[in-house]
Amino acid sequence: MSTAQAQVQTKWWGGGKSPFNLEYGKVMMWYFLMSDAFTFGAFLISYGTIRFSQNYWPDPNKVFNAFPLMGHANLPLAFVSLMTFILIVSSVTMVLAVHAGHNMDKKGVVKWMAWTIVGGIAFLACQAWEWTHLITGEHAVLIDGKIQEIGTTVSRNPWGSEILGLEHGEHHVTKTGPVAFGGYFFGITGFHGFHVFSGVIINIIMLLMATNDVFERKGHYLMIEKAGLYWHFVDLVWVFVFLCFYLI
């Protein structure tokens, strides 16, 4: 009866198991992710275009050297490494949830989905802290001949090159940096954060459905797998965002 038994007669795909031989929702999720990859790709390529048209770009080791509760300790990229670690671990717990789903192990699914949600929320919390720190952390900058203290926003950037010999308190005074830095940083990490946020919402819905035995009644945990695809994609995008903003 099934409409899935298409093309039994011709061997359009001659290479063994066809990659399209999947449940339709999963295929659709893959196509959506492909489309979403183009959205992120366009953002990151735009970022690259503008960044390489500038004479100067802030050094991420200086911009991202703070850690909560550590005061002014210089810990380059330590916090973002923690964020990345949290997100990757949440991908691992997602894999475990999908695996538990394959074994029809409801308790396992619930446990690992819960941990995945915790990981997602922890990542968002870290991002909130980092954003706040950047926006409120003021630095002395020479603007129009006057020393001003400004934070990093979408239209202001204190991370320009240092002006030799000019000190303000105990800190070097810098020129203003390229404003595109803040625009792209908040724009792209924000867009990614929005994806993480929607992923957490999806995962919470999946968790509630799992606890309410929806998947037990369906007889399979495919929905968890689809949510997992999305979650891994968000994770993968972060790797590129991490590369482009923090490492290069």
């Binding site: 009866m1 099934s2 038994q5 007669q9 061997k11 359009w12 449940e23 048209s53």
Partner: protein, 603 residues
């Protein structure tokens, strides 16, 4: 692909679609049947009628600005009565003119020829022609229409804003579109435009995902990819183009929204407006053009490919001959889909693009002529020595081929970056793209509407009005756009409100008046089509037979009034390709008929 592999997931799929297995028996409420319908056929009708309403609005706008271009010193009091200060003294003000031109382009490109065309025929034809009960996800399909509806409401609302709708051209290039102080049309109307387009992109994405998945996963038994009608192949590539190019426009639109509202500088640098120096620095206006045209060019093929697919089908059915070169048709669609992503910078030859880079885009652009020519020759050879029935759909299909050739040839001029120095932004460009993607796609759409109207509404459209509609539209299209080539070659630039005081171009005053007159006549003919459409829904000649055109494809095996689920019993099994016309002395052999013992070999 072997059977047992497929059975591995079969229970999952059937579980998801079990509810559509039989034709529907339960009573549906008005809301679930006509408004929030999940039946692909109803969603197709919704897309079509919304598209028709938009086409009337967009067409009316062109009549208004053609009025201005034809009669620049007119004074028509009724215009002021209707549009108030937008037409002070009975003349269209420059702001109004730009708003009209911008909305004309936006509406026709996106709302009519993307949503109205793909939305209608992808929804109608995919499940019917591949042999499925409905789309892979009827719910997402419904959402696709309602996001389109939301986009429509927002765009329509923008027409009534005090400062007017977006007016920076349908390509909304920054910095003009990014700075509210630059023009009235860049104020609130521009935000509405961007938000509306974001909704539109969501709609197009939800639709596209469904189309691709349904075509790949839900074909009936025996319906291999090479047995798909060319309509489905065309819609498939259209959907792929949409899914991969619209997200890039989304990125571009989001960055533009940020530039407008959050003070970022993605596209802005070193700008002075009305003596005020803006703080923005470091952005690039050309970046927006890249992001826009990375969508914008595939968009041209998103508009054109469904028309090509339907024309192939209609030509073959009404020539009573197999389509010539089926695999070449599929291959050329594929080639066009690939090349569509590699030519966007030919819209930017004179924008400050490196000429060295331009050379590659010239080459890639001209390469498109090859698959296009393959398609044209295949259509002509399909017609050749055919037993042609000149139904209205067939006339429009032939008209499409004519327009595609005429408009395609001027594309070769424009694809050349050197000639483009002279021709860019002139009426030559306007003439080229209106013929090859505007009017040609409309002809494909009309062919589709006339051909599948009996499937949509179980009645026929009126033939007399259809023939009048065709001849006026075909003659009108050439009479409007052919002279524009001359104007463009003479260097007459587009997007000017008045040429009468311009020494070089005031000699075209009579020609412009002629074009405007024809445009109004053609618009009236379209209104007649709209009348025919709505009249025939209720009063048209009834369909008495399941297969009125003697067609092979699966949609004509459904009942005259198909329910939700399309086939009352089992889904038919497919045994052959869809183009067995005039084979072994038989006029047509439906796809559902098994290959006979003595049948001659497959074409």
């Amino acid at each position: 692909m072997s059977t047992e592999i497929l059975h591995g997931h079969a229970e999952v799929v059937s579980e998801a679609h079990g509810e559509h297995h039989e034709g529907h028996h339960h009573e549906e409420s008005f809301i679930s049947k006509y408004v929030f319908s999940m039946d692909h056929k109803m969603i197709a009708r919704q897309f079509l009628i919304t598209g028709i309403i938009w086409a009337i609005i967009g067409g009316l706008f062109s009549v208004l600005f053609r009025l201005q271009l034809g009669y620049p010193d007119m004074s028509l009091p009724f215009l002021e009565d209707i549009f108030g200060r937008w037409a002070q003294g009975g003349r269209i003000t420059p702001e109004f003119y730009y708003a009209l031109v911008t909305m004309h382009g936006t509406i026709l490109v996106f709302f009519v020829l993307t949503a109205g065309l793909s939305g209608t025929f992808a929804n109608l034809l995919i499940p019917l022609q591949v042999g499925a009960r409905d789309m892979a996800s009827p719910f997402l399909n419904m959402l696709s229409y309602w996001f389109f509806f939301l986009a429509s409401v927002i765009m329509f609302a923008s027409l009534f804003i005090q400062t007017g709708p977006a007016a920076g051209g349908w390509t909304i290039y920054p910095p003009l579109s990014a700075l509210g102080q630059a023009s009235d049309g860049s104020k609130l109307g521009m935000d509405f435009w961007l938000i509306s387009m974001a909704m539109f992109i969501v709609s197009s994405l939800l639709g596209g995902l469904n189309y691709i998945t349904t075509i790949l996963n839900m074909r009936t038994r025996g319906m291999s990819m090479t047995r798909l009608p060319l309509t489905i192949w065309a819609i498939f590539f259209t959907a792929v183009l949409g899914v991969l190019s619209f997200p890039v426009l989304l990125s571009g639109a989001i960055l533009l929204l940020f530039d407008r509202n959050l003070g970022t500088s993605f596209y802005l640098s070193d700008i002075v407006v009305k003596g005020e120096i803006l703080p923005n620095e470091g952005g690039s206006a050309i970046l927006f053009q890249h992001l826009f045209w990375f969508l914008g060019h595939p968009e041209v093929y998103i508009i054109l490919l469904p028309a090509m697919g339907m024309v192939s089908e209609v030509l073959s059915v009404n020539s009573r001959k197999p389509i010539f070169g089926y695999l070449a048709m599929v291959g050329s669609l594929f080639a066009i889909a690939i090349l569509a992503f590699l030519v966007w910078a030919h819209h930017m030859f004179v924008t400050g693009l490196n000429p060295f880079l331009g050379a590659f885009f010239v080459l890639l652009t001209l390469l498109i002529a090859i698959p296009s020519a393959i398609k044209v020759f295949n259509w002509l050879t399909t017609l050749w020595r055919g037993n042609i029935r000149f139904t209205p759909a067939m006339l429009f299909a032939i008209g499409f081929v004519s327009l595609f050739i005429s408009g395609g040839l001027t594309g070769i001029f424009l694809g050349n970056s050197t000639l483009d120095i002279h021709l860019h932004d002139t009426y030559f460009v306007v003439a080229h793209f209106h013929i090859v993607m505007g009017v040609a796609s409309f002809f494909g759409m009309f062919a589709g509407v006339y051909h599948w109207f009996p499937k949509l509404y179980s009645r026929y459209l009126n033939n007399t009005m259809a023939y009048i509609h065709f001849w006026i539209t075909l003659a009108g299209a050439y009479l409007i756009f052919w002279p524009m080539h001359y104007e463009g070659l003479a260097g007459m630039p587009r997007r000017y409100v008045d040429y009468s005081s311009w020494e070089s171009f005031k000699m075209f005053a009579d020609l412009n008046r002629f074009i405007s007159t024809v445009a109004m006549i053609v618009f009236a003919a379209q209104l007649m089509f709209v009348f025919n459409f709505f009249y025939s829904i209720f009063k048209g000649r009834r369909l008495r037979t399941e297969n009125p055109w003697g067609s092979n494809t699966l949609e004509w095996t459904t009942p005259i009034h198909p329910g939700h689920g399309n086939w009352p019993g089992e889904i038919p099994e497919v045994h052959r390709w869809p183009y067995d016309y005039g084979k072994d002395g038989r006029e047509f052999i439906p796809q559902t008929e098994p290959i006979g013992k003595d049948e001659s070999a497959h074409h």
